[in-house]
Symmetry: C2
Subunit: 302 residues, 2 copies
Amino acid sequence: MNSMTSDIGRLYLGIDGGGSKCRALLADAEGRTMASVTAGPANPFQDRAQALASIEAASLGALQQAGLGAADLARVVAGVGLAGVNIPSVFAAVNAWAHPFAELHLTTDIHIACLGAHRGEDGAVIVAGTGSVGYVCVNGRSHNYGAHGFPFGDKASGAWLGLEAIKAALLHLDQLGPATTLLASIENALDASGLELVSAMAGRSSRDYGALAPLVLSCAEAGDPVATAIIEEAAAYLNALARRLLSHGVSRFALLGGLGPKLAPWLAGDVQAALITAQGQPDEGALRFARSRHGTRVAALG
Amino acid sequence: MNSMTSDIGRLYLGIDGGGSKCRALLADAEGRTMASVTAGPANPFQDRAQALASIEAASLGALQQAGLGAADLARVVAGVGLAGVNIPSVFAAVNAWAHPFAELHLTTDIHIACLGAHRGEDGAVIVAGTGSVGYVCVNGRSHNYGAHGFPFGDKASGAWLGLEAIKAALLHLDQLGPATTLLASIENALDASGLELVSAMAGRSSRDYGALAPLVLSCAEAGDPVATAIIEEAAAYLNALARRLLSHGVSRFALLGGLGPKLAPWLAGDVQAALITAQGQPDEGALRFARSRHGTRVAALG
């Protein structure tokens, strides 16, 4: 029995892939962290070829950082958590990938975020980044909310905040909605004025809309009533989402994603009381997932 | 002086181009209608090459219906009203077209709709179709509202109604919003259930969203509170838009587009009181525009 078939030479890789980047965390059979790298976007719902390329790039980068090479991919048990695979057809397509690993165990980005945040214990997480999603895992059963994508889903996400801000700015421009400092802020950010905003944003991706989210927060923090109403609608959705997660019988949730810390102060008191700081990152959750599924049959989404 | 340079053999063509189709109305120098045809989509903001191809196809079709041929394009003074050319860069791009006509006079779709609806007199129009726009022309000056496009503009349009309906259906699906008959109606229309709605609508165009608008109206008419709230939000926007148009000093407006007749009963009393039936179609307005601009310098948008 050589190291290629025993667990002595086994490598564990946790992959956390989303719409803006892909993180890879490599550990040895004894659980020692060997490398941590970041590569490009890995949301197979948006672009499957790019997602698989980013996962492969992150994996090779991690091996290289650990002083290993492409041949060592065959020693790797990968736990891969990706945005977009909550859609069954997307999950099936990625699961059918002729991947270079010894094993690939696929799950959602939110599952690995929850495993990371609660160190594998029961709990819930909400992610508010470019997109938004809620997830709860209790007694081995999980439930997913949101994550339906731009432009109809992901309320309270960065993309949703940016889209609502553009809508409000254009209503102000037409004098068909209240005046808002969002108009000048967005004109300044996009280096476009008045109707030029339309061509500046036409056909843009959720990430481009999400890039406007900090403006909405700063306008709201400065007291703009229109921006405040947008943030309050986002907070109301997050309150409802958190209460729905907690109704499954867990007592705590973590609020993750780039917008999490910014939106937390806007949440209702009872929701803030259940909010905890994540105890670990999603890539650590992915690594935990790789270890726990090692040697098991590759599963369907469930 | 032959017929090619005198006005005796002159032909006038009115083109009404939008996101779903392009209509062409051909008349002779004496104003007699010679042909009327419909061709494919002609919104140069969505697809410029397709728009120019549709205009050319409609023009050739009209000549053919009148017993003429491609050589007669050189006798044609075209008045062309298009969706999308309210954006200055789109207007400039279409205006730079090496068109096959003797003259091409370009303006917005809403301008020709207003010229048609009010037979060239001062007045206002609102179009609620796949998109939405408001326009008023008074004493030779015009003002435009809306028409900013999907997904951030065109409130109260078919695309907007469809987008709001999908959002509401997904909130119901997650039990994060009120139950609504929109969910089952949309599932039925798209032959998709639950989360499959997400992949069914991902990346879809404004026309695909607009195709769901009749469902929203029928659910509202049947008393569904969520669909009713969407229609009422649309009506509130159209009320504000109509009042803004009337504030420019005209006393009447026409409500055009496929959704116009369906949304009219939802408008406020004072707004309904100013509503008139259009006295002519947009292609007639385009023909009127061709005649009035014949021999004038091709103008910039203004």
